[in-house]
Amino acid sequence: MRRIAALHLPLLPIERRRLSGAAAVWTTQGSRRRLIAVSPEAAAAGLRAGQALADAQAILPELVLHPHAPEADAAWLRRLAYWALCITPLPALDPPDGLLLDVTGVAHLHGGGAPHEASLRGDPGEEALRRTLVTRFARAGITVHAAIAGTAEAASGLARMGIGIVVPPGEEASAIAPLPLHALRLPPSTISALHRLGLRRIGDLLRQPRGPLARRFGAALPAVLDAATGTRPRPLRPLRPPPDFLAARDFLEPVVTREAVDATLALLLPALCRQLAEAGQGARRFVLRAFRVDGAVQTVAIGTGLPSRDPRHVARLFRERLERLEPGFGFERLVLEARATAPLAAAQVSLPGEGHASPDMRRQALAELLDRLVQRVEVWRPAPRASHWPERATWRVGPFESVQIPPGWPGSGPRPVRLLRRPLQLSAVALLPDAPPSLLRLGRTSWRVTRAEGPERIAPEWWRERPDRPFRDYYRVELASGARLWVCRPGVAVPGEPVTWWLHGRFA
């Protein structure tokens, strides 16, 4: 039996903007402008959500108005959901203004009794958890209504009506019976049709025979009722799949300094790596989540090329990244998760003084080096490709991929050892328009060409290129200094027109 805590944030648009005094948020519905949230001060003056904007301004001329921003509200709700990861690993969004937390078996962690007690009749643990939730949100300046029940729909309906209770397992139906129909968030057309039939409360609806209800309103209505009473529960869609391996630590005093974070990581990493070792797994991604006292969650993630569970190696990777954490007023909880896990066989640790001989260890050492390098700089392998167009002869692949050399690569003809990413434009003197150059000029320096080999005509790949790209005539030229360059002339040389030459590479 699952236990779900539903949180309803009635003042979410107001509290997100941290508005004080008489304030309201409005939106346009059709041709009318209505309030959708009012601050407590404005409510005291007689305003309420759903009122027309003009009426509200007439009642309270000094009312501060803000337009509705649903995207920003949704983003903020998502941030709160991430923060709720410190309560349970399975939070879910309940848009537009709610959160659903799967709190099965976590009540005793937050000041309640042991789980077997909570599963019995009395729910002192869950009541304590419910109060903890409300006070923790209140500390961050957020008003919430919280209710805990066995189904998400029942808990959410109770929270939305502002009824903060803990429903004992199996009593969802009787708990929601007195609620009005819109607590279940049925479509407005269905609600008005039910009202016409004289059904005003959920209890009225539950007493009706199912068959006629389904015939009249479709299968969706009985499905909602079954989900709310727990006859056929619907699964919760959590924000993220829970990690397989996780180590966490809570602090009595918020942690502010880098040293404290380092020390905590030094405790968490061996614990997590021990879990991984016991399961015979290694992880390719480690995520550190830092929960700040003001509700923000900061994430630092590192990746490794090969599955790893070596605490020393992972700690070195984290060392570069931890500078990005901004503690502000401090962290109250640090969680380390292992993701993208894969089987990893236990390796024989080499004896000291044995030297570094085995190829396996070399490969491991290289992978660890590349892990460290990719934290700070760009690293890639140039993989050959079957293409004669110079820019396309190689392409970047990740440093951990193996590079296959296609047969026949790199083809005939000498190629330069350095290829300029941006070719340099040259001016040249040639005896004939389509002859190799006899003098090259780059800026103010000029080079006399003593030998030239070519041309080698390289045509663009018509199946990939835009059709007007010209072919290139490449020459290998040797200067008087002995330097060898790869220069090219794009397109056909037309007598009388200036020819541009490009320096594209350098030969050894």
Partner: protein, 260 residues
């Protein structure tokens, strides 16, 4: 610990034996001796290997290469990296090493990892980490200038890891001053020996400017891509007739000369 004088009191001191023992101890202390830490040195060609103290370019050490010509120096470095037999890293602000050309010097793209480090301290850090890693056979850092402390750090890292490190620097007039590297080379290009329409095989001038435990020297060499061999040009000068004959035979075979 035994003092040499304590061992045989009253006997005449055996000077050659004593010197040999001291040398052996010094060599043991000085980890930069390439033959001990990294096995065999990287071979270049017989004449040069005989001249170098370790019988080749020492591993577990840093070598400086001044590029009088950018292309020739890159080719020379590619040759050393290829012969270090293993994974190599090419670290530069803008790594422009191009595998289709490098493969002619034996450097396969399967072994090559390119690292782009635009900031100087990142590049130095990447080089130091690479040299320290036992899984790396060679690492190259393209850098414009290097202070003595940074170079010393790299040298120590190479001694710890066993890789061969190359510092590819642009050539400067004053030869760069003091260095922590084991050797310093200046690599320039030489004009080929072919006809006006054939460049022939690449020719380099290799100047060994400094060498710990060795003398400076200069060689003119030719790289033979077909044989994957570095040839000293001496042989050609001794036999001028054979060389020109060979060149003349080679020209029509290449067939690049278009008669107009």
């Amino acid at each position: 610990m035994m003092h040499p004088d304590d061992s045989l009191p009253g006997h005449a001191i055996d000077r050659p034996a004593l010197l040999a023992a001291l040398r052996a101890r010094l060599a043991q202390l000085d980890r930069s001796d390439g033959t001990r830490a990294g096995g065999e040195g990287v071979p270049l060609c017989d004449a040069i290997d005989h001249h170098l103290p370790g019988g080749g370019l020492a591993r577990a050490a840093v070598h400086e290469v001044l590029a009088a010509d950018a292309g020739a120096a890159a080719g020379f470095c590619a040759l050393i990296l290829a012969r270090s037999r293993g994974s190599v890293l090419w670290i530069a602000p803008e790594p422009d090493a191009w595998p289709p050309g490098l493969v002619r010097f034996g450097l396969s793209p399967a072994d090559l990892v390119l690292v782009q480090a635009p900031r100087r301290q990142d590049a130095l850090w990447a080089m130091e980490e690479s040299l320290r890693c036992p899984g790396v056979a060679g690492a190259l850092l393209a850098v414009d200038a290097l202070d003595l402390t940074a170079a010393r750090r790299l040298q120590l890292a190479a001694e710890a890891g066993g890789a061969i490190g190359l510092l590819l620097r642009p050539d400067s007039e004053e030869e760069g001053g003091a260095t922590a590297a084991l050797t310093r080379w200046r690599v320039g290009a030489l004009a080929g020996t072919g006809s006006a329409h054939d460049l022939g095989d690449p020719r380099w001038s290799l100047e060994l400017l400094r060498c710990r435990g060795g003398r400076p020297q200069r060689w003119d060499v030719t790289w033979r891509p077909a044989a994957e061999r570095l040839d000293l040009d001496m042989a050609e000068r001794l036999d001028p007739d054979d060389a020109t004959e060979a060149e003349q035979k080679a020209v029509p075979a290449r067939g690049r000369h278009r008669a107009r």
